[in-house]
């Protein structure tokens, strides 16, 4: 299968610190890939570079045949890349529906007016938040804000969805619902790259994992195999456990 | 002609550097943009003018009044107007709007008082206006004195900031306002001191300027702008940056005035400012405080 998302030689420096160092991997169309690694290993920086939030210092990112690296975030969004943020970014003074309409109005669909409102409600229903549609986003609980953020990302009609610890902080019941929700997205053909720490979710969802440590890729293999890789175990648990 | 221009440029640049050092202390350490900064300069210029014209007191002696006077004024402005705003501010945006409006208000009040007292005319006085021979060219003695005063004052403040514990504490606040309290630095006191020192430098600059330039009750805003431009060019909070950028701007303005057109000096300042902002937004010399 030809790669859909192709990352090659990606590097990001902050002053003297190299947060991501010569990282290359690819994701096939319709695949769910986990991007793992200990805290500070550069995962979020990678997502930030794919979504255009940070320009890469070096290297290339391409989606299908389009080069993403070098484009601004709004142009990357219009190429069909949507994301959620590690720390939820709601638009607190807008209503929940308006939050979702933002992605519809300026994303690939360019919906506005009544059509946008109906579509937004559909997306809210999809994440189980339809009953909060009229509320101010700032009044939602943290978990509901996360749901809303996913609805907003889905409303953008993405080809590639970037999830940054979207499942973190959910209780066991919510986690099951969340996993089902993401699995459902896969069947609708969306390609997903997810940064995640919840092992249960990774095992349930990701066919393959890319694992990073200190900015470098240390494993890239089917999930079970990647997680048992000695280098990975060392990275997570330290030298003596390897 | 070139030597004259360079010397005049250094005089102007030295004064600018002095002014910018004061503002970079205020803005870099107290983190409040004092839009009435130039008004302090003009107050001191008028003070010097009044002392010289009505009492025959030389501007050098006026400095002895202006320095502590500016210090007290800066201290009072921070303590009375800024500190209450800082204490109640819940976020940066709110403090920014409040401090902009307050210092605007102060700008208007001081400017109004000056207009009522001295009128709107161009003001100047003639002190040490004889030419001296230097490097094969002639330069007015007052300009030479201005340069000497700027160098002495600038060097003094630089030594205080780099060689004393007290100065080091101030610089620590400029670099890391969040961590300074952890090592026992009282940030509010540091901010007050920075404002006071900035006020003293503004006043000193005002006296120095009045020795060789004409000024009006309303020219404060132009000085605020130039000082801020220098501060940004030099990197906020960076004393040496302010010094170098001040000299650079003084030279550039004098060169344009001498060889192109005196009416285009502000355009030069502005062009330089834009170029720096677009090319290196953190300033020519980075943000670090040396």
């Amino acid at each position: 299968m030809s790669p859909f998302l192709q990352v090659s030689g990606l590097t990001r420096r902050f002053g003297g610190l190299v947060a991501v160092n010569d990282l290359s991997f690819s994701v096939a169309k319709g695949e769910i890939v986990g991007l793992l690694g200990p805290n500070g290993s550069g995962k979020t920086t990678v997502l930030n570079m794919i979504s255009g939030h940070l320009p890469p210092s070096d290297g290339q990112i391409a989606l299908a045949d389009t080069r993403l690296s070098g484009l601004g975030p709004h142009k990357i969004a219009r190429q069909g890349v949507a994301r959620t943020f590690q720390l939820v970014r709601a638009l607190p003074s807008l209503s929940v529906t308006e939050n979702v309409i933002v992605a519809l109005a300026f994303g690939r669909k360019r919906l506005w007016g009544e059509a946008a409102r109906l579509e937004a409600l559909k997306r809210l229903e999809q994440v189980g938040l339809a009953h909060r549609a009229g509320q101010q986003a700032g009044d939602l609980t943290y978990i509901d804000q996360k749901r809303m953020e996913l609805a907003r990302a889905l409303a953008a009609d993405p080809q590639l969805l970037l999830l940054d610890e979207w499942l973190a902080g959910l209780n066991p019941t919510e986690l099951q619902t969340g996993i089902e929700l993401i699995r459902g997205l896969k069947s609708s053909g969306i390609t997903i790259l997810m940064v995640e720490h919840v092992m249960e979710a990774i095992r349930a969802l990701c066919g393959r994992c890319v694992i990073m440590n200190a900015g470098i890729k240390i494993a890239d293999a089917p999930t079970a195999e990647a997680l048992s890789d000695p280098a990975v175990v060392t990275a997570y648990l330290g030298e003596q456990h390897a | 002609m070139l030597v004259t221009a360079v010397l005049s440029g250094l005089v102007l640049g030295g004064t600018y550097a002095l002014l910018a050092m004061g503002l970079t202390l205020q803005y870099g350490i107290a983190r409040i943009m004092n839009l009435a900064y130039g008004e302090l300069i003009i107050v001191a210029a008028f003070l010097s003018y009044a002392l010289f014209t009505y009492a025959g007191i030389s501007p050098v002696w006026a400095l002895l009044i202006a320095l502590p006077g500016g210090f007290v004024l800066g201290y009072a402005i921070y303590g009375l107007l800024m500190a209450p705003l800082v204490r109640r501010a819940r976020n940066a945006a709110s403090l920014e709007i409040d401090s902009i409006l307050t210092t605007f208000g102060l700008l208007f009040v001081i400017q109004g008082l000056l207009l009522v007292t001295f009128g709107a005319n161009f003001t100047s006085y003639s002190y040490l206006n004889d030419a001296v021979q230097i490097f094969g060219t002639r330069l007015a003695a007052n300009r030479l004195l201005a340069l000497v005063l700027a160098v002495v004052l600038g060097a003094a403040i630089y030594l205080v900031l780099t060689r004393t514990l007290w100065g080091t504490a101030l610089r620590a606040v400029a670099v890391a306002p969040g961590s300074a309290p952890l090592v026992g630095i009282d940030v509010e006191r540091a901010a007050r001191m920075a404002f006071a020192l900035g006020g003293a430098l503004a006043a000193a600059g005002g006296v120095v300027i009045s020795m060789y330039q004409t000024f009006t009750a309303t020219s404060g805003v132009v000085f605020t702008m130039k000082a801020l431009i220098i501060v940004i060019m030099g990197g906020v909070g960076n004393i040496l940056g302010a010094l170098s950028a001040g000299l650079l701007l003084g030279l550039a303005e004098t060169m344009v005035a001498t060889y192109v057109d005196p009416g285009l000096t502000l355009a030069t300042t502005y062009g330089l400012f834009l170029a720096v902002l677009l090319w290196r937004p953190t300033g020519l010399f980075g943000r670090a405080v040396r």
Binding site: G52, H53, G72, P73, H74, A77, R78, A82, R83, R89, L91, P92, S93, L94, E98, I101, V102, A103, A105, F106, G107, R108, W112, G138 | M33, L81, R88, R90, N91, A93, S94, L95, E96, I97, D98, I100, L101, T102, F104, G105, F108, V109, I110, Q111, G112, L113, L115, V116, V221, V222, M225, I232, D261, G263, L264, L266, A267, F273, L277, P281
Partner: protein, 315 residues
């Protein structure tokens, strides 16, 4: 179309019509006063259009106002009147696009100083041009425009500006502005081209300001750079729009009308101490509002006028 919408439209048209009839009854002084007031209302609407949602505190108002006035003065003898306004608007637009492209990446106090300096720079350039190229500093404007004519034009401009800001607030562009004001990262990741939106709004707001200057210029008969580029205009516009509530449709009007009358009264009764009193008012306002000006604008107005949406910011 809802009944409420129709009601609002009719009310708007009725108010404009009533205002249009005013010169038939008002004294010459009344008309002068109304011209000044409408000018500031239009400036405040223009200011709020850009600065309200983006939170860029701009002091460039008088730069554009002055460009308008000066264009009117320079071309008053060569161009027919309506064409004059068109040229002024185009020059304002051109300057706004150039300035905007160069500076809209600045934020906070840098932008404040930059816009403030812009007015000063343009004033000096105009002075330089007049002294060196034309050889005179001041210019006379003789245009066959009556005070009533100026009043009606300003009224039309104000109505258009108001209608525009109303239309924007309901459009896709309005939503884009709200999102930008709230969180630029979300805005750009949702596909909003932030730079273009800001530039467009900056230009629109500048054109309104330029036109106010161009329309008002004939009232002065004589202009010179220090009159046309008087920085007080920027300060007054800022304080009017800010205190009225720059994010609310009626805000600029609610701020401009009472404050204009207050400033008018002050300058008539205390001509020499005007700027001192003005400064003290600024300071008092900041200190009287317990949680600061921004909080007052965002929460205070919302409490007082329950229809409004509170624009709360959680950081």
């Amino acid at each position: 179309m809802t009944p409420r919408f129709l009601l609002e439209i009719s009310a708007f048209i009725a108010v404009i019509a009533a205002l249009a009839l005013l010169p038939l009854f008002a004294s010459p002084y009344g008309i002068t006063l109304m011209i000044g007031m409408l000018g500031y209302v239009a400036l405040a609407i223009g200011w709020a259009l850009f600065s309200g949602p983006t939170r860029y505190v701009s002091l460039a108002t008088v730069a554009f106002f002055g460009i308008g006035a000066y264009t009117c003065a320079v071309f008053s003898e060569v161009l027919a009147y309506p064409l004059l306004l068109l040229v002024a608007g185009l020059i304002g637009l051109g300057v706004a696009l150039v300035v905007g492209l160069a500076t809209l990446r600045l934020a906070g106090v840098y932008f404040v100083i930059f816009t403030f300096g812009l007015a000063e720079l343009i004033r000096q350039l105009v002075t330089w041009y007049e002294v060196n190229i034309t050889g005179t500093l001041g210019r006379y404007i003789f245009l066959p425009v009556t005070p009533e004519g100026i009043y009606w034009q300003l009224l039309a401009l104000t109505a258009a500006a108001f209608a525009m800001s109303w239309a924007i607030s309901r459009s896709r562009l309005g939503l884009a502005l709200k999102v930008i004001g709230e969180d630029e990262v979300v805005a750009s990741h949702s596909g909003i081209d932030i730079a273009r939106v800001k530039l467009g709004l900056f230009a629109l707001s500048a054109v309104i300001m330029t036109l106010v200057g161009a329309i008002q210029a004939p009232r002065w008969t004589y202009v010179e750079p220090s009159i046309a580029f008087n920085p007080t205009v920027s300060f007054l516009t800022l304080i009017m729009a800010l205190l009225g509530g720059a994010n609310r449709l009626m805000g600029p009007i609610l701020g401009a009308v009472p404050l204009f009358l207050l400033f008018e009264w002050l300058s008539a009764n205390f001509p020499n101490h005007y700027s001192i009193i003005l400064g003290l008012i600024f300071i008092t306002i900041v200190f009287v509002l317990p949680n600061g000006v921004l909080d007052f604008i965002e929460k205070g107005w919302a409490r007082r006028l329950p229809v409004a949406k509170p624009a709360e910011v959680h950081k």
